[in-house]
Symmetry: C2
Subunit: 400 residues, 2 copies
Amino acid sequence: MTAPASSPLPTPRGFPEAELRARTAAAQARMAEAGLEALLLTTEPALRYFTGFLTRFWGSPTRPWFLVIPASGDPVAVIPAIGAHLMGQSWISDVRSWSSPEPGDTGLRLLSDCLVEKAPEGRVGLPSGPETHLRLPLSDWARLRALLPRHHFTDDAEILADLRLLKSPAEVAKIETACAIATRAFDRVPEIAGPGVALDQVFRRFQMLCLEEGADWVPYLAGGAGPGGYGDVISPATPAPLQKGDVLMLDTGLCHDGYFCDFDRNFSVGAPSPETVRAHARLIGAARAGFDLARPGATFADLFGAMNRVLTPGGTTPGRLGHGLGMELTEGPSIVPWEGRDLQPGMVLTLEPLLTLPSGQVMVHEENILITPTGARWLSRPSGPEIALLPVPEAAKAAP
Amino acid sequence: MTAPASSPLPTPRGFPEAELRARTAAAQARMAEAGLEALLLTTEPALRYFTGFLTRFWGSPTRPWFLVIPASGDPVAVIPAIGAHLMGQSWISDVRSWSSPEPGDTGLRLLSDCLVEKAPEGRVGLPSGPETHLRLPLSDWARLRALLPRHHFTDDAEILADLRLLKSPAEVAKIETACAIATRAFDRVPEIAGPGVALDQVFRRFQMLCLEEGADWVPYLAGGAGPGGYGDVISPATPAPLQKGDVLMLDTGLCHDGYFCDFDRNFSVGAPSPETVRAHARLIGAARAGFDLARPGATFADLFGAMNRVLTPGGTTPGRLGHGLGMELTEGPSIVPWEGRDLQPGMVLTLEPLLTLPSGQVMVHEENILITPTGARWLSRPSGPEIALLPVPEAAKAAP
């Protein structure tokens, strides 16, 4: 194995304390409007958004983690002792921790004391809308409400979703770095994929390329391969070898400093059929049409329409044609016909046109863009209309 | 980059339909005892346990996924259309899907119809205990209950947790394969780490080794490095270069066919200090003491005690000293002093002794074992008492 390229750190890790404080102040301004005394947060992106707390340990479901944003003053982290050292390196000075796991309590007493202190009138908001969940066992959720019978838990008035929608320059820089890493890895796919290589080996080797090009980790890789297209876009790899005539698609969400890219590339194994050439060009045309329309004031529905007119003239492409992107592989809103919200500068989006082929298979393409004050900017290096080629060696061509 | 070793597939991918049917039947037998007409499942491991549905797409929080286990008959998958093709390849024949995202509904009408059909008397169990959560926005949870005002949602009587506790031979084979991959990758750490190498590059290169040795992906890597120990065990890597006298710890949860290993290794950068030698040997001694005690009939508390006597004679080590392992990086139960349940054949556990050093830093060690009918079997290749060495090159030794 060759050594990876030297550590690519074009942007400083983490965020300045001032940015994390500004996020908190922005939340508190919205909380005042909504009449909330506190926000109660339980999920990875929610805690990280305000504290900068970055760890892969959320893969362990054992322990709950809580962050309380009060109406004024600094957030309080109520977390298991195993995280106290790492949280202690953040800007959060009020870190309350308990030895976890522990019989019975699981931190709920500590949390309820904190909520009594920070929300004496009991008006607590929790993210409850689309794309959220409560990362707490239902039994503990019932227990918490029993500990706080006079507290009233409501939704968070979409405060967190709204704040996360608009990325700061520092956030954009991290996403752009992730995109650049994936762009370089996609450029190198011909090194690792070709006729006869098993799809699961392509997946392994592609993840190695992502790491070699500087990814911190590769939380997402899906794709497909088949003659002229593939059956879906979320399957894991099989050991089936790539064959001449296959279209290979790799879709990756890799991370740089906790921020994702999310885009894909298609490859033709050997010379593409005329149908594949046309389908790929149409996907690219749709992404370009989306990009050309994307600007502040246009709506998500407009963006859907621009791509849909290329993909499904006179009809409606099923599903969505892209989504928000940032701290998670996918974020809201979706690019769908009924999403009337405006595009705004600072939004980072994927454009994800999909074609269903006459065979019933699909082909998808995906790019990442930033909405700017005057239009949009590519964060992924956009693909041209010609599908990339994985050449068939001369010897293989001659074989029966 | 050299080519990875040929695809290591010592066990067939997935599970025979008979095994998935047997899991369902076992759940149904327990449901009958508990008086439940249906189980409602929403999380990745829960759906996969019964269906075999394996995808990394759960990283996208946009869409809910549901599986309904009826009192008799086959499970019903109520899932977004984007998953219908992949679920269609499973043994589940009743797949009900909706175009998602969709305004308003998000599948709840389809789900409530299914629950009316499968649980006409309204007795529905949901996993609600330790280590669970409901993967559904709170607003949708309220909406579902409003759609089904006569249904009574209760906990699942720990049915899912109990079933998952005992691994089948096919599950054990997958975990053992993951362990073997990680064992090989750990053996190669001296290829990629040594004095002067930045810790974040060590993390990247180690993940590449895991993939090269056959991991499908590497969902978890944490660790630390510092003089004689490290501050915690969940931090991401910094760009600080390794230095002579550092102890480097790498802790990985890599996946083979959806099953995890979870163990770590310590390395001394240059010759270890006598304190490091002693601390490492003590950790290994604790893991061995746990292994020697582990057998059916001993309790989790006994297992804690055996390790604790080596680590903290006369006292109690804080936190837990291991946990279950399988479809998730960590599973219940925890190895803690108050866990009175018995060890049983088929349990897969981590033994994870921890020492707090006089400096306040920590050292941890971790191995993976299977409880057998007569004792235990190592799944990771157990470390010896001597800490592994990352040699300091002669030139570096001579430098000031």
